[in-house]
């Protein structure tokens, strides 16, 4: 998954208009980033890439870009 594709999927997940996100957003400032969105994010990543993200790793992410790194680099350390 590339950067643009990732941001489009995040916008769909968070129900914000297309082109809204650039990656620098703090997750805690996003109204719709909650426990349901976190599970939706895990499902989205799993569906698109087959990766099962570890919630402990997700909990360390501060920004949209932090989430992106987990997916775009497909870092095996982040896979449960």
């Amino acid at each position: 998954m590339d950067r643009l594709g990732f941001l489009e999927l995040m916008e769909e997940l968070l129900e914000v208009p297309a082109g809204t996100l650039n990656g620098n957003e703090c997750l805690r400032d996003l109204d719709n980033w909650d426990s349901l969105a976190l599970i939706g994010f895990m499902a989205m990543v799993n569906e698109q890439t087959g990766i099962i993200l570890a919630p402990k790793v997700l909990a360390t992410c501060q920004t949209v870009a932090d989430l992106m790194k987990l997916v775009v680099t497909s870092d095996r350390d982040s896979v449960v």
Partner: protein, 358 residues
């Protein structure tokens, strides 16, 4: 995974019981209406039946058992084994199975014991009962249910709008020539902390402090005697485990996707079931969803789904079922069963007079 192939045992009947009338989650006043709507849209739970503080799991299971035994017209003294699977027993001791044995008036020659399991508990119970029947018993009564709402904080949005209560009864019996039942079971105890009631038993006995509700992550309010659920960890666990469980089972049974008539998974929540169905490429019409009016009923969810979604089919014809229970423990168990025709009584609704009489 532990594997078993059971010969000459059949499911003879399933009955389910729920307490009182259904209560709508939209009536919950503790969370804003838009938040309730959002959670409900994701979980698929719109109504639940809640036990309140008077109704025990055993009450619901006994009502289901009475209905089933009457429907099957079998004598009570023909029951060799009574297994009660629940995380919400009547007492620390004795075993609730013994108390229910007395209430149902079963024979003194009937073995009775409890098993503490939740989401995987129904399939575990089938496996235990079937294994004991294969070892020489003739007929088993499996009671499975929970009143999880009684350990849920009403101010914890991760659990408060999800769970419902139910009790079920299943009769298994020896039947020469019955199609084989395949079981797969497993455990990952490293996940025990992710779905737990941390205090109130013997590791952390109940104290004033453990009973005190306070604010936790995400503004959720609960005590250490309330149910804690880490939804993310459970979701990751199910993605790791359930597709492989179902694949292994179907390979062992020699079933293709076309062969299976219905996939009856633990009714955890709609979002999870839809994602698992997508991962496994299951035909949508074969994936049973029975959450809307009952919520996640823990150990009871698979037999309750049989009662409310497949009863007509199971009464009249043989149905190839893939069952998968997964969750608290972490524990999982799956089975392929060719079930029916069998006795499937109507859903029993236990009013408050039913539990006050005990």
């Amino acid at each position: 995974m532990a594997s078993s192939r059971i010969e000459n045992v059949r499911l003879a009947g399933v009955a389910s019981a729920v307490p009182g009338p259904a209560l709508s989650v939209s009536e919950d006043a503790r969370f804003p209406a838009d938040e309730v709507g959002k959670i409900s849209a994701s979980t698929g739970v719109h109504r639940r039946h809640l036990a309140g503080n008077q109704c025990c799991t055993s009450t619901l299971c006994a009502a289901a058992a009475e209905s089933l035994l009457a429907g099957m017209a079998i004598p009570k003294d023909s029951i060799d084994i009574l297994i009660f699977v629940s995380q919400t027993p009547d007492y620390l001791l004795p075993a609730t199975a013994c108390a229910v044995h007395g209430r149902l008036g079963l024979s003194p020659s009937c073995a009775a014991f409890d098993v503490n399991l939740g989401c995987s508990g129904y399939v575990y119970g089938l496996w235990l009962a079937a294994s004991l029947l294969q070892a020489g018993a003739k007929r088993a009564l499996l009671l499975v249910g929970d009143t999880i709402s009684r350990v849920v904080s009403p101010s914890d949005r991760s659990t408060a709008l999800l769970f419902g209560d139910a009790g079920t009864a299943t009769v298994l019996e020896t039947s020469v020539g019955a199609p084989p039942i395949f079981f797969e079971l497993g455990t990952d105890g490293s996940g025990a902390e992710h779905l737990t009631v941390p205090a109130g038993a013997f590791r952390r006995p109940s104290t004033t402090a453990t009973g005190q509700r306070r604010e936790r992550e995400g503004g959720n309010v609960r005590s250490d005697e309330d149910l804690f659920m880490n939804g993310g960890e459970i979701f990751a666990f199910t993605m790791r485990t359930v597709p492989m469980l179902c694949k292994t089972l179907m390979q062992r049974a020699g079933w293709s996707m076309d062969d299976a008539d219905a996939f009856v998974m633990h009714q955890a929540n709609r979002f999870m079931l839809q994602h698992l169905a997508k991962l496994m490429r299951l035909p949508k019409e074969k994936v049973v969803m029975a959450l809307e009016d009952f919520g996640n009923t823990s150990s009871a969810s698979i037999p309750l789904a049989l009662s409310v979604s497949l009863a007509d089919r199971l009464r009249t014809s043989t149905t190839k079922l893939v069952m998968a229970g997964f969750g608290v423990g972490f524990s999982w168990a799956g089975a392929t069963v060719e079930a029916g025709p069998m006795t499937m009584p109507e859903l029993v609704r236990v009013g408050s007079e039913g539990w006050e009489a005990e």
